[in-house]
């Protein structure tokens, strides 16, 4: 399925995080049905990947202030419900598919546009997050 390069930003308010806290922003693209969120998937290298992207950053505003975090990915055109998660950054959630192959922290040349996430990583990031919100009816393309 043809995909489009996509970029955007998330505006969020820091309620409790300390300055310089390392966090990751995740966007998971899917469909919200009732209270259940169903991620969209694709196949690459014989594996199923969830359509998602991540971006790592540090908190650079004090508590009570807002910060903007940008992201980039690829998506087929369509309308999505988007789960946005901000949580502590850990390397064990770096199992993502990018347009240059698997993401590798040791090789920054392979760290580019994230476009997929292993299902087990989604399970991990859905616990212990700092903030989460689902936006519905987000149009792409």
């Amino acid at each position: 399925m043809a995909v489009l390069p996509v970029r955007g930003e998330v505006l969020w308010k820091n309620l409790k995080l300390d300055l310089n806290y390392n966090f990751a922003l995740y966007l998971i693209f899917g469909r919200l049905v009732g209270n259940e969120f169903y991620p969209k998937t694709f196949t690459a290298d014989g594996q199923t990947w969830i359509r998602a992207t991540q971006w790592t950053d540090t908190v650079d505003v004090p508590k009570g202030s807002t910060q903007t975090t940008r992201f980039i990915t690829y998506l087929p055109s369509g309308t999505y419900d988007v789960m946005v998660i901000i949580r502590k950054y850990t390397e064990d959630t770096d199992i993502v598919w990018t347009d240059l192959g698997y993401m590798s922290c040791e090789d920054p040349s392979k760290c580019w546009r994230c476009m997929g996430m292993k299902p087990e990583v989604l399970e991990k990031i859905c616990t212990g997050y700092d903030g989460m919100r689902i936006f519905t009816g987000v149009r792409v393309g």
Partner: protein, 173 residues
């Protein structure tokens, strides 16, 4: 109110609507006096959170990866001050996230720690302990030097998230 309890006073874990997902840092300070232990003796200090009714303490707990944990924290590496002296032991843990406001009691234990039996759960990737496996609670200490219950040590409300996501915009490019 402070009561000295027997360790056998620990009840079965009470299933409650608390979750290990979402928490706030919590610091516990335990002040204790050494009456007759040898100075420098290695001791364990534990704080369990739950409800205290009479002489029965019921831990609050949660499930994680197939195991049941009592909410609490233990340090096995505290040393006794000189006999007759007091000491404050600081323990770091997390406040669990209840679904409705609750008042929490605590059971504090100082004893000889049994390294082989305690199994703890450290939510923060090695940063601090949040729970102790329920099936190891009664063998965690091979000898209890003192145990005390404290009522209403903390009031918890459903957690406010650390960040509030306000808006999302997305475009081709």
């Amino acid at each position: 109110m402070i009561e000295i309890l027997e360790f056998s006073g620990i009840n079965e874990l009470r299933p409650v609507a608390v979750s290990a997902e979402g928490f706030d840092p919590l610091t516990c300070g335990v002040g204790w006096r050494n009456n007759k232990l040898s100075a420098g003796l290695l001791v364990g200090v534990a704080v369990l959170f739950g409800t205290l009714e009479g002489e029965t303490f019921t831990p609050l707990g949660f499930e994680h990866e197939g195991y049941t944990y009592a909410w609490g924290v233990v340090t096995p590496t505290e040393t006794a001050p000189s006999a007759g002296s007091t000491k404050t032991t600081t323990l770091l843990t997390y406040a669990l996230n209840p679904s409705s406001p609750i008042s929490v009691d605590a059971l504090v234990t100082v004893g000889k720690f049994s390294y082989c039996s305690a199994r703890s759960f450290d939510y923060g990737y090695g940063e601090r302990m949040v729970g102790i496996r329920i099936d190891t609670l009664e063998t965690m200490f091979s000898e209890i030097y003192v145990q005390a219950g404290f009522q209403d040590v903390i009031a918890l409300s459903p957690m406010r998230p650390a960040v509030e996501i306000q808006s999302l915009n997305i475009s081709i490019g």
